[in-house]
Symmetry: C2
Amino acid sequence: MPGDMPRQSVIQWDAEDPLAALRERFVTDDLIYLDGNSLGRLPAATPEHLARLVRDGWGTDLVRGWPTWIEWPRRIGDRIAAHALGAREGEVIISDSTSVNLYKLAAAALDARPGRRTILADAEEFPTDRYLLQGLAAQRGHTLRMLPSDLDEGLDPATLEAALTEDVALVVLSAVSYRCGALLDIAAVTAAARRVGAYVLWDLSHAVGSVPVELTANGVDLAVGCTYKYLNGGPGAPAFLYVRRELQESLRQPIWGWFGQRDQFRMSADYEPAPGPDRFLVGTPPVLGMAALDPALDVLAVAGVDRVRDKSVRLGRLMIDLADAWLAPHGFHLASPRDQGRRGGHVSLRHPEALRISRALAAAGVVGDYREPDRLRLGPAPLYTRYVDVWDAMHRLRDIAERRAWTEVPAEPTRVT
Amino acid sequence: MPGDMPRQSVIQWDAEDPLAALRERFVTDDLIYLDGNSLGRLPAATPEHLARLVRDGWGTDLVRGWPTWIEWPRRIGDRIAAHALGAREGEVIISDSTSVNLYKLAAAALDARPGRRTILADAEEFPTDRYLLQGLAAQRGHTLRMLPSDLDEGLDPATLEAALTEDVALVVLSAVSYRCGALLDIAAVTAAARRVGAYVLWDLSHAVGSVPVELTANGVDLAVGCTYKYLNGGPGAPAFLYVRRELQESLRQPIWGWFGQRDQFRMSADYEPAPGPDRFLVGTPPVLGMAALDPALDVLAVAGVDRVRDKSVRLGRLMIDLADAWLAPHGFHLASPRDQGRRGGHVSLRHPEALRISRALAAAGVVGDYREPDRLRLGPAPLYTRYVDVWDAMHRLRDIAERRAWTEVPAEPTRVT
């Protein structure tokens, strides 16, 4: 019985965890940090790595560092492709923010499907995706159809299938929903859209580094994602984008910057998109932000995303089992898919006082986060979250529930995903 | 006679330079670095400032750091406004790259001038500006008219005036030309465009931190610029954008990201642009990149951009005087406006072997850069370049010229602005 599960047995799981040693490769403290799906922890090697770049690269090499740095959008993109995405070389680049990348690839896909006027998205999609598509639809006279979706279970694939007509140019979906953590079947959705000639642009922000998305095997055409969550790239780290190799030459993104230009330093009169993935670059890439990704990817490479997923599933199951046993009696409801095959790395719990509970929990040394309208979102990160952390967090949450400790906490929002 | 100017007298200028002490606030070495207009030197306070942010902010505060960081696009934008741009609070934000900002503001300006079909730009404009406008023109069916411009003297204001018709929606110009350093009369150009109802979008990349652009006093509507040149923000540092306060509510940029949304964390269904300059934000801002700007701006604030300009003019004049005396006899020609009132902070010299000369100069311990087709571009930065550095650089250049030392150097390109 999970409710009777003694702390000691969970400590034993940690002792047997093949990823346990990797926790030492992060800066940790007594805080139980269950917001690695919002901003991942600092890898222990990152401070010195960045300090060296600042001192030797910027400070000493100065502008002579650029022949090295200019390769980084592709070099680090290739590392993410290999270690996190199951994609091939030359398909992933680091560039801009997730939002700007969404804009670029969505616009490119719409241009590649002239005559089609419909864009599909999940009505419960993360705000920036929804807003960007509203903008593109408004600017082009397209119709953005928001598909009804369950707050706890995510989008029903049947709803999507029913909406896939010959007028659909583009479908934008998160592989893992930011709120409930619902995990979509990437291969099935991509194939269904392809049958009607529509592109799917995947937002991998909550999936990358947590779920093996296997872009090549799943036949994915387009994807974007952020690197500051499970990839531990740091606050506001630059984003990535993926375009299937065979598709690159046929797509053209709307922001024609000099880093997307063929033979950039010839500075020719007319814009001509670079061959390969560089055509999706725009301006000068953020060297400090990119640099922070290398030590973080080193840890992920050692772990392997399949082992990350195995532990992630087990962490989630432990969390749900304990919530069922300890929290359900106090008015908490699971707000994520129960089936682990349909759930990403985080778990949401529903409670009318979720906002104040998240604050009380933080005061008790456990950082999760709150999501509208009434969700407590808990994101264990397998590279550094221990099973005992989950046990302790749920135990403290039970204590808060029993004491109704949130009644002492004021309510007002903030927080960044 | 400048040609007879002894090194000792230039050393005396340094002794009397009111900005001399600020050189200690940068990491310097024996290298004579005349590429501060491409990538500025590392401020001495930056490594520890960044290390603290990484350790205490990212490492310890983690996601709880966001209530602070989220203010930085505006807070640091306001600092740039005050210390470098002569702009008011709430008019400047840090966001994206210069290229993406150009795209956003150019698109916003075109939308605000429906019915007008012409965009004007300098045919010798920096590539990213030209390419972005080509893209916007192609996407919207506008006409991009490239104004003929002198490679050495920049755009003749009369050429622009003659092109300003009632069909012009937007003019995009660099306040200081990236190649020859020509400085335009910001107030006069802005007023001339306004007379026909056109917007001017200024690219301040080569001006900011070097020339007092006085955006408020000069009536400027729109501007963008980069922070890695004279603002010393580091390689690939995030860019800024400026929109005159009175104009903000009437403009809407095309990339509708969640950081541009009113009441962002309410995550409402429909995009509604935030009041004020935040509406020009898009995605999650780059915290590491923004952080590096603070110590750099501290130095500029002490110097004051007017004193920077005074020294910049004098550094440039010294360079030109020595080039006239020492280099003209060896086939070098000034490729920048001679009149200091029409010249920004850098000086270009023309020579058929400029590429190889720039390499020979680097081998002699002086970093400048090469620009197509045959320019050696030298950018002293008043905060850390001494008069004696200019004297020594020109002296070594004379030595290279006398020995025709470039004949030993291979020719092939690279280099980033």
